[in-house]
Symmetry: C2
């Protein structure tokens, strides 16, 4: 592979070349920077990127003796701009934090940096990762469309091969949706499995740190570094003979043709590979999950932004203002009912999911909507976020405009490694789903 | 009152004098600084205190036109040193963060500062507010004893009249216990009611921000600023005719004579005031709360310190190292069982507590133990922390050495304002409990 095309490598491939001394971290970083230079006018995935800082870090990594190198040595990571980085500003896409520079690493950044990752730059987000408007980033597959949000830049940068990895967060659908819209793997681990220290709060009960990559193998590298572990080390997964649940959920009427076809095609592909696929209708008590998620999030946002509201209300998006003011007059009774009902459903979904190889469910209503006005709907994601189960977007399907559509696999809580193993095999099968990146 | 004794004023009293132009914020601040100068060799409540910064802030507050002043104008607040302050370092009592300076305000600090509070300095904590050893602070009532922890400096500083207010956090018993040992009010609101943005994580499921003051009236001022609200604005509370639950809990055998006598005396005082007091034995399903709390905390600490563990394991207390390494081999099954069981008990304790005026329960096994080797036991606090209910330490009783012993009042979640109203009246009655500060 020419040095000019190093940016196209997945993380695991680049890692191998670096380990074998076939490329330096600096060469790899230059290739990524070249890619960004070519593409940034169109994609605009970065809130902060300093090529000089990147190259000096790359050279530092190259100077580390081989035996002292970390497991992610030299791999570039985009960091969502709601996470602190000791060498870059963190602006949360908020005028209140313009040029704000907190000189510590958020816990996930600290862990990745120590593992040898090259902390590349800050990727765009909607304001405080809390709303669905206001990201400047374009979908790399069609500049006239959103890459989704709130992890807009992370999703677009990984899809566009500007970095092999990126950090995201999900409170409603902010990891899975950009995964679907950009045609990449987006992994939301079990809630609580990754530290949120140094990651801006939106909802304490919902915010979950996760990762983007272009292969499941790459996500496995990350999972190792974060010591994600199930009770049992999972065996390699075999699709043949496995039973999947097809869960359309109560919001299925909101699925557009792209997602409807993806679910059909996925069923067909899994069955062709020897799996059973049966439709799962969740018990009625799950039917209110959309509303319960909204109550949970509303109660949390109300508290999370009181500080900014008191000092700079006019610089805060109206969504946060309304929550702080409790404009909807949500009662504590409603809020507690949401907390307690959702909590009571978590062990139930674990049990249900545990009877299948995984639950297969939509990632988004359809391919990415046109325009940058909205990052799209999280309607298919909120339930799983609130239930704290691990979720992963598997790409492979395509909408009416030839743009990517992904589907979500779900496993019980703290079956993260198991879910990655399932996803590795299912990902291979979904490659036949009709979509492949032209980037 | 002489200017030399301004430090003795409760917050509400100082506020009135400042509002009436009888004292300036600078005069008030000087009195507190004098107090600290006299006492700091013995008490050592501060991790960071810059008198020049305090006085320049005080003068800035004095220069604000009256009509633009906030509701806490000029009131000094100590900030536990795990919360970011834009003008002071935040060290977490960790060698890893020696001289670390994050130049933003944690959300609670932001809210208080905007309300006109004088952000006075950083109060001592045990390492990351996560352990029971290593605070340098002495109990102001007996220098040979601990002030409790982890909010050691906040508890001691308020008791010693070095500041009228301080911020604390509780993960096990870190607000209530220092409240009891120092003879002051310590208020842990409903979990989630105060933002933890910019407050170091120990346990995402347990950490709760709260407050110290020397009167409930002062806590009401704080509660207003943080917009704590119940579904119904509570009426002023009347003890006569009210029914209290006396809840000794399963760990009652760990109560020493000071706490046993405090519970007896409290019962007697409440009955004399016309209240009913009946013993409450919680249903058996609450009996495992100590273990469940430990599992919940263990799972969270494991994640919270992975970053520091990877970069500086040798500088991390062994407790955190063992959790990150999961030395106890806790399973995910145990961890999830703790999360789900505790969650299922929260609405149940709400219902139980709701049938009483409040639940009265121990705050600590006894008066503060001797020595600074340990900040004491949180055994009487952990259950209530995990249940997310508001809790408040009411001082008034005394142990065998004449040191303070407090008791806890508990109300259902999001009955914070109601609980403050109850506490205001109960606090008056407990003043006859046999202890009064000699400071």
């Amino acid at each position: 592979m020419s040095f000019h095309n190093l940016h196209r490598l997945n993380a695991s491939e680049a890692l191998q070349l670096i380990r074998d001394d076939r490329i330096s971290v600096e060469q790899y970083a230059k290739s990524l920077l070249n890619r960004i230079q070519e593409r940034d006018d169109q994609v605009q995935a970065w809130a902060y990127l300093d090529p000089e800082l990147v190259l000096s870090q790359a050279r530092s990594l190259d100077s580390i003796p081989k035996e002292q190198r970390g497991p992610l040595h030299g791999l570039a990571v985009g960091v969502k701009d709601i996470m602190y980085t000791k060498d870059m500003p963190t602006e949360h896409n908020s005028p209140i934090y313009r040029s704000s520079f907190v000189q510590i690493d958020a816990s996930p950044v600290m862990t990745l940096r120590k593992a040898g990752a090259l902390i590349f730059g800050k990727t765009t987000t909607t304001e405080f990762a809390s709303i669905t408007v206001g990201s400047k980033t374009h979908n790399p597959h069609d500049y006239g469309r959103t890459p989704g949000g709130s992890s807009s830049g992370s999703g677009a940068a990984v899809a566009d091969m500007q970095v092999p990895f990126a950090l995201g967060t999900q409170t409603a659908g902010s990891i899975i949706r950009p995964g679907s819209f950009n045609g990449i793997f987006g992994f939301k681990p079990t809630w609580g499995a990754i530290s949120r220290e140094g990651v801006r709060f939106c909802s304490i009960n919902l915010d979950t740190v996760g990762f983007y990559a272009r292969s499941v193998q790459d996500l496995q590298l990350i999972a190792d570094v974060f010591r994600l572990s199930d009770d049992e080390d999972p065996e390699p997964f075999t699709v043949r003979g496995a039973k999947f649940a097809l869960c359309k959920t109560k919001v299925w009427p909101q699925a557009g043709p792209g997602t409807v076809q993806a679910m059909e095609k996925a069923t067909e592909l899994l069955r062709s590979a020897g799996a059973e696929v049966e439709e799962l209708v969740l018990p009625e008590e799950f039917n209110k999950m959309q509303d319960l998620h909204a109550f949970m999030m509303g109660g949390d946002v109300r508290v999370a932004f009181l500080g900014e509201y008191t000092v700079a209300k006019d610089s805060l998006d109206d969504f946060m203002v309304r929550q702080v003011e409790n404009a909807s007059k949500m009662t504590r009774r409603d809020q507690l009912n949401a907390l307690d009902t959702i909590a009571s459903l978590r062990p139930k979904i674990d049990t249900i999911a545990g009877t299948y190889a995984a639950i297969l469910t939509p990632s988004s209503p359809d391919e990415a909507p046109e325009g940058l006005g909205s990052t799209g709907s999280a309607v298919f994601n909120t339930m799983w976020t609130a239930l704290h189960v691990p979720a992963i977007n598997i790409p492979g399907f395509s909408g009416g405009n030839g743009l990517p559509v992904g589907l979500t696999l779900i496993a019980p809580r703290y079956k993260d490694r198991y879910l990655l193993n399932v996803s590795e095999e299912v990902g291979k099968i979904f490659k036949e789903g009709g979509w492949a990146s032209r980037l």
